[in-house]
C-alpha cells in the first residue's frame, strides 16, 4: 500500500483532496492494460474503446504479466495479479481496468475489472470474435469526450445474472457519472449493445436455475456492440426524428469467465449518501417528512388526506322500541345457521344489552 503522508504544501494537499471520496463521484477512470500477449484484434478493440472513453482513461502501453482470474501465480517480484491491479488503482486513482490478453486457450480476450475502495469488486471477461474498427468505417465520428446514449436490447439484460452484470459494467464504463443537466443539441452518438436471439435453453429455465447451475458458456448469446452517430430530423413536433449512421466500433463479443462481487463488499459499494434536507422537503427522498403534499401547476400546495376504511359492521343504527325485547332471541336462533359468525356476534351483543 502507498504511504499516507501529511501534505507539505497547498498543491499536494489539493491533489490529495481531489482523490478523497466524494458524495457524488467523478466518472470512473479506466486503465487500459496489455497482458503478456495481445493480438492485432485486441489492440484495435482497446484503441477504439479508449477513443470512446477519453479523457477518463490511462494507457499502459507496455506489456504486463497479468492474469486477473488467476490469483495463485506470483510474478518474479512477488506480486499476484490482483495485488498489482490494486496497486495500480491506488497509484493512478483509477477504479476500472480493461485488460487485453490473447492466449491460445482464450484468444482475443478483454477483461473488464471494477474496483471498490482500490480493491477488486467484480470482473467480466469477453472474447472479441468480430471487429470492425472506427477507422475502417469512413464516416463522421463523434467529438471526443462526448457523452453517449446507451442502448441495451434483449430481455436477458433484466433476467440473466451474467448480462445484468455486463450491463452494469458497461454503463459504468461509458456513462457512469451522475449529471444534473445535458445539452440537447450535444447528443451526438449512440452505443448500442444487443444480443443474438435468446436460445431455448435460457428461455425455458427460470432465473434461479440459471444462477445455480454451472452454465455452459457456449449457450450464452453473442453480444453485439455498435457505435452510431445520430442525426436529428424535423418531425413537425417538439421531439425530432432520430436517424443513425454507423460510426464504429462494431464488436461481436462472447462472454467468458467472470467473478461475482463479494456480497459484503457489494453491500458497502451500494450504500447511498443520505438525501439532503432540502431534497427531503421537496419530496425527493424516501424519508419524506411532508407526505401527500404537492405543488400543483398554479403553485398552490395541495394535500391528500387518507381516510381509513370504514367498518360498517360496527355501525350502530337507531334502536327502535319495537325491535327490542325477547322476540329478537327467538328470531336469531331460528335463522342463525345460514348466516354464520357475524349474525351470532350481533346476537350476543344484543343479548348483553338487553
Amino acid at each position: 500500500m502507498l504511504r499516507t503522508v501529511k501534505p507539505k504544501n497547498a498543491r499536494s494537499k489539493r491533489a490529495r483532496d481531489a482523490r478523497a471520496p466524494k458524495e457524488i463521484e467523478d466518472p470512473r477512470t479506466a486503465i487500459f492494460v496489455r497482458g503478456s500477449h495481445t493480438g492485432e484484434k485486441v489492440n484495435a478493440a482497446m484503441r477504439d474503446l479508449m477513443a470512446l472513453k477519453r479523457p477518463n482513461c490511462i494507457s499502459f502501453s507496455k506489456k504486463n504479466v497479468i492474469h486477473p482470474f488467476d490469483n495463485t501465480s506470483v510474478t518474479e517480484a512477488g506480486h499476484t495479479s490482483q495485488s498489482s491491479l490494486e496497486f495500480w488503482s491506488t497509484k493512478n486513482d483509477a477504479s476500472m481496468f480493461l485488460i487485453g490478453q490473447s492466449t491460445k486457450k482464450r484468444p482475443d480476450g478483454l477483461t473488464f475489472v471494477r474496483m471498490y475502495d482500490n480493491r477488486i469488486l467484480d470482473m467480466c471477461e469477453v472474447g472479441v470474435t468480430g471487429l470492425v474498427g472506427m477507422d475502417q468505417i469512413k464516416t463522421k465520428k463523434c467529438t471526443p469526450g462526448n457523452k453517449p446514449l446507451l442502448h441495451f436490447a434483449s430481455e436477458l439484460f433484466d433476467t440473466h445474472p451474467r448480462f445484468i452484470q455486463l450491463k452494469s459494467i458497461l454503463i459504468d464504463f461509458f456513462n457512469g457519472e451522475v449529471i444534473d443537466s445535458i445539452c440537447l443539441a450535444g447528443l451526438e452518438h449512440v452505443i448500442s449493445v444487443s444480443l443474438s436471439p435468446t436460445p431455448a435453453s435460457l428461455n425455458n429455465a427460470s432465473t434461479s436455475a440459471i444462477a445455480e447451475t454451472k452454465e455452459d458458456l457456449s449457450t450464452l448469446p453473442t453480444v453485439h456492440i455498435r457505435g452510431y452517430t445520430t442525426r436529428f430530423l424535423a418531425s413537425g413536433n417538439r421531439v425530432p426524428r432520430v436517424e443513425l449512421t454507423p460510426m464504429g466500433p462494431s464488436m461481436d463479443l462472447t462472454l467468458r469467465r467472470h467473478q461475482e462481487p463479494d456480497p459484503e463488499m457489494w453491500k458497502q459499494a451500494m450504500k447511498r449518501p443520505k438525501v439532503a434536507k432540502k431534497d427531503i422537503e421537496s419530496g425527493l427522498g424516501r424519508k419524506n417528512k411532508r407526505k401527500n403534499t404537492e405543488l400543483d401547476e398554479m403553485g398552490d400546495l395541495r394535500g391528500r388526506v387518507h381516510v381509513g376504511k370504514q367498518d360498517l359492521s360496527k355501525l350502530v343504527g337507531k334502536k327502535m322500541k319495537g325491535l327490542r325485547g325477547g322476540a329478537v332471541d327467538v328470531d336469531m336462533e331460528s335463522d342463525g345457521d345460514d348466516d354464520g359468525d357475524r349474525e351470532d356476534d350481533q346476537g350476543a351483543r344484543k343479548k348483553r344489552k338487553v
Binding site: K62, V242, P246
Partner: protein, 315 residues
C-alpha cells in the same frame, strides 16, 4: 373543407417519432440509458444483422430522445439544457462514502442552543476612511490599534506601558487561543479517549518526572494537595560485594531478559516478514531482476537489454 390532402402531405414530409413495442422501452434518463426488453426477433436477425441492429438501436435512441426532449429545460448559450432526473439504475460506488466531519466544540454548543451559523464578510466598513478594509491580513482592521499614531493611555498605566505592544500581545493571544482550540478539536476528533484514561496518562507522566531527579524528588517543592508517591525507593547497593552475590545478580538479570514475559528485545513475528523478497532478488541478481537470475541458473546465456524488473506497472 377537406384536410386529408394536407395531412397526407404532412405525413410524407415528416416521419413519425413514435416507437411501438410489445413491451414498452425502459428509459433511464439520468444515465442516458435505454433498455429494450423485447425478445430479439430471430428472422430479422438472421436476414440482415447490421440492418436489424441499426433499426433496434434507432428505436431505442428515438425513445430516449423523446424522453429527454420532454424534460424541463433551461436556456444556455449553447442551446437548451435538459434537467435530468436522478438515475433509476444503481451502480456501485468506486470509493466508500465520505466520513462526516466531526463537529467542533463550538458547533455542538451552537447546535444545542440553536445558534445559526453566519459567514462573516472578509471586508469591514471603516467609518473614518469611508471605505471597505480587510478584517484581517494586510492593513487589517484588527491591527488598527497597533498602527495608529496616537493612543489613549489609561490613567493608572505604568511608566513603561507600551500601548502598541499591549494591543499586539492581545491580538497574538487571541490567535494562540484559536490555534489551541483548533488543536483540541482535532484531538477530540482523532479519538475520544475517556477522561479516566487521560487522567491515568497524566499521573503516569507526573510520577516519571517526579522520580527523575537524583534524589527521586525528595527535595522538590511540594504543591498543595500533592500526594506522597508510593513505592519510590532510593537504595544503593554496596560497591563491593562477594563474587557469589554478584554472579547471582547478573544471572537473575540475564534470566529476566530471556523470559518471555519481559522480553527486552522483540524478535520479528514470523519468517516471511524477515525476508524482503524483492530486495533479495535484486541483491542476488545484482540488480538485473529475477528473470536474469533464472536464466543464469538454467545455464543459458544471458540476454542483454531487457531487464526483468516487474511489478511497478510499465506504462
Amino acid at each position: 373543407m377537406d384536410v386529408s390532402n394536407l395531412l397526407a402531405s404532412h405525413a410524407a414530409k415528416y416521419q413519425t417519432t413514435d416507437v411501438d413495442k410489445e413491451t414498452p422501452i425502459e428509459v433511464d434518463a439520468g444515465f442516458l440509458t435505454v433498455t429494450d426488453l423485447n425478445p430479439i426477433d430471430e428472422e430479422s436477425y438472421k436476414a440482415n444483422l447490421e440492418e436489424h441492429l441499426q433499426s433496434l438501436a434507432r428505436d431505442g435512441a428515438q425513445a430516449l430522445v423523446a424522453a429527454l426532449f420532454k424534460l424541463p429545460t433551461t436556456q444556455s448559450p449553447d442551446g437548451p439544457l435538459a434537467q435530468l432526473p436522478k438515475p433509476t439504475t444503481t451502480l456501485p460506488r468506486a470509493k466508500p462514502l465520505p466520513k462526516p466531519k466531526p463537529p467542533t466544540k463550538w458547533e455542538r454548543f451552537a447546535a444545542a442552543k440553536g445558534i445559526q451559523k453566519k459567514v462573516r464578510d472578509r471586508k469591514e466598513w471603516d467609518e473614518e476612511r469611508q471605505e471597505w478594509v480587510n478584517r484581517w491580513g494586510r492593513d487589517g482592521k484588527n491591527k488598527q490599534k497597533e498602527v495608529q499614531w496616537i493612543t489613549e493611555v489609561p490613567l493608572n498605566a505604568d511608566a513603561d506601558f507600551d500601548p502598541v505592544k499591549a494591543a499586539r500581545d492581545e491580538r497574538k493571544a487571541r490567535v494562540a487561543k484559536n490555534e489551541r482550540q483548533r488543536l483540541q478539536n482535532e484531538a477530540r476528533a482523532q479519538g475520544s479517549t475517556s477522561r479516566e484514561e487521560r487522567k491515568q496518562d497524566i499521573e503516569r507522566t507526573l510520577a516519571t518526572s517526579r522520580g527523575s531527579t537524583a534524589s527521586m524528588g525528595r527535595f522538590d517543592r511540594k504543591l498543595e494537595g500533592e500526594k506522597k508517591m508510593k513505592g519510590v525507593k532510593r537504595k544503593f547497593e554496596p560497591t563491593e560485594r562477594s563474587l557469589d552475590q554478584e554472579k547471582q545478580a547478573s544471572l537473575a538479570l540475564l534470566s529476566k531478559m530471556d523470559s518471555d514475559s519481559k522480553k527486552m528485545r522483540r524478535e520479528p513475528a514470523s519468517e516471511e516478514n524477515v525476508l524482503n523478497v524483492r530486495k533479495a532478488v535484486r541483491f542476488a541478481s545484482k540488480g538485473r531482476g529475477g528473470l536474469a537470475l533464472g536464466r543464469d541458473a538454467a545455464g543459458g546465456k544471458s540476454r542483454s537489454g531487457r531487464g526483468g524488473r516487474g511489478g511497478k506497472g510499465r506504462r
